[in-house]
């Protein structure tokens, strides 16, 4: 009878322990995967063609989605802050709020989430399909290291493409805020631009773009890792794709918090 009571008490602890161990194991596997992918940057050959294809896929073909997201979000910030600040008669602050919100947070995070959905899914589906149809093994038999060929160029492409997309998102987000403020809220265009430029600090832009680089790396890493390790036919590829998008989105938000804390907390 006694050991039963002990079991009831200990079982949940054991379950938590098992879950933690599984998580640590996964984090370890992920770290090793990332290191292996990065290490090939230092060991030629580098597959430029794969890199450029990935770069175009991420940077160019994500442009419409990122652009639309940024324009609407900038506009929404203008509307919301106008509604919020009207009671304090400080509408003049709107230009500054829009540019700060967009450059520091909305640009990197929204562009990151959009790209995580688009590119993270596409990458894990493509690499996962290659895994379950033996194409990754085929690479090996053709003297090509699949990490070097598939993963390394994508990691680099993601890391470089996201800052570019976020720069575009920054500009269009501010433009969205400007359009709404001028056409709908009756602001003077000239003074809005002046207020925007006054509020804009190069450091904010730099920090936003650095965040974007980290996000881009995370998205590519999640897409590649989940695709590369997928098992069990079409169904396995499907769940790998979902896992890649979910993991990329959550990690992205977590790192956003950490980096914001790091850069702006003082």
């Amino acid at each position: 009878m006694r050991h039963l009571t002990v079991n009831i008490l200990l079982d949940p602890v054991a379950a938590i322990g098992r879950a933690c161990l599984a998580m640590i194991r996964k984090a370890g596997a992920l770290a090793l995967f990332a290191l292996a992918g990065l290490s090939h940057l230092l060991r030629p050959p580098f597959y430029w063609k794969v890199f450029f294809n990935a770069l175009i896929e991420i940077a160019f073909f994500s442009l419409p989605v990122v652009a639309l997201t940024a324009i609407f979000s900038g506009g929404v910030i203008a509307l919301q802050s106008y509604a919020g600040f009207a009671q304090y008669h400080v509408q003049s602050a709107i230009a500054g709020i829009v540019v700060l919100a967009v450059v520091r947070e909305l640009g990197p995070v929204l562009a990151g989430l959009m790209v995580a959905g688009r590119v993270g899914a596409a990458m894990s589906a493509e690499i996962g399909t290659m895994r379950v149809t033996d194409q990754i093994d085929a690479l090996r038999t053709l003297s090509t290291d699949p990490m070097k060929y598939l993963v390394t160029p994508r990691l680099l492409a993601g890391t470089l493409a996201l800052p570019f997309l976020v720069l575009v998102a920054d500009i269009l987000g501010v433009l969205g805020g400007f359009t709404v403020s001028v056409s709908k809220l009756g602001f003077d265009p000239h003074s809005y631009v002046t207020a925007t430029l006054n509020a804009l600090k190069p450091l904010d832009v730099m920090v936003g773009l650095s965040k974007a680089a980290v996000f881009g790396f995370i998205i590519s890493l999640m897409g590649c890792y989940h695709g590369y390790t997928s098992r069990g036919g079409a169904e396995g590829v499907g769940s790998a794709t979902t896992a890649a998008v979910v993991a990329a989105s959550i990690l992205l938000l977590a790192f956003d918090y950490l980096l914001t804390d790091l850069f702006f907390a003082q």
């Binding site: 194409q135 093994d137 085929a138 090996r140 038999t141």
Partner: protein, 262 residues
Amino acid sequence: MNAQPKIRIRGLTKSFGPKKVLDGIDLDVETGTSFVIIGGSGSGKSVLLRCILGLVTPDSGSIEIDGEDVLTASGKRREELERQIGMLFQNAALFDSMTVADNIVFGLRAQCRAQHKRLSAAQARTQAGEILRQVGLDPSVGALAPSELSGGMQKRVGLARAIAGTPAILFFDEPTTGLDPIMGAVIDGLIVDCVKRLGSTAIAITHDMASAQRIGDRAAMLYQGKLVWQGLASELMHSGNPMVDQFTHGRKDGPISMELRR
């Protein structure tokens, strides 16, 4: 005393979890001969090839190529040894992001890189066309995507990609499975041609008896992780071994009971 075999395997074992897939495999393949392995689905035939290719790490045993143990060789040397092997995968495993021609060029370039040779784009294209012709396809097929091809054509392109690097060893994993008997015979013919032309040593997996006898010089049967019979491929149909007899004649009663559960 015979010359050293091209491939010599001793005491190879591999388990996945509690499941013993390979349980002490001993196998010699003489240089320039073709070896056929037969066995039921899930008996571990593909795993055996994957072990030799370095795609799966065995639990114990040795795999020698040209007398050198692959498993204990240094990373670089191991790559050199494994580079000699060309593989036709069960479902061809063509790169579906590339055209047929680019698939073959990929095989060509892998070989050229290893030998530090340059290969111009124009050269690559002509050579790819030439190799397509060798497997009975028109060079114009090179412009198609792998998904546009029938199963038999995919197998041909897979074969073309495997032989592009003129490998000293060729592996075929169920080359005729899923093809109609005539196409199966055609692919077998191509395989025999290619192996002869390149002077390669070959291992083929199949459960098609006609195919086994067309391709193989020697044959073995894999059952429950062991090679339960080895002999000449021509003796397959009258080996005198009850397990081989049951398998080759497709009888449902005999020493082999199909495991429907695992």
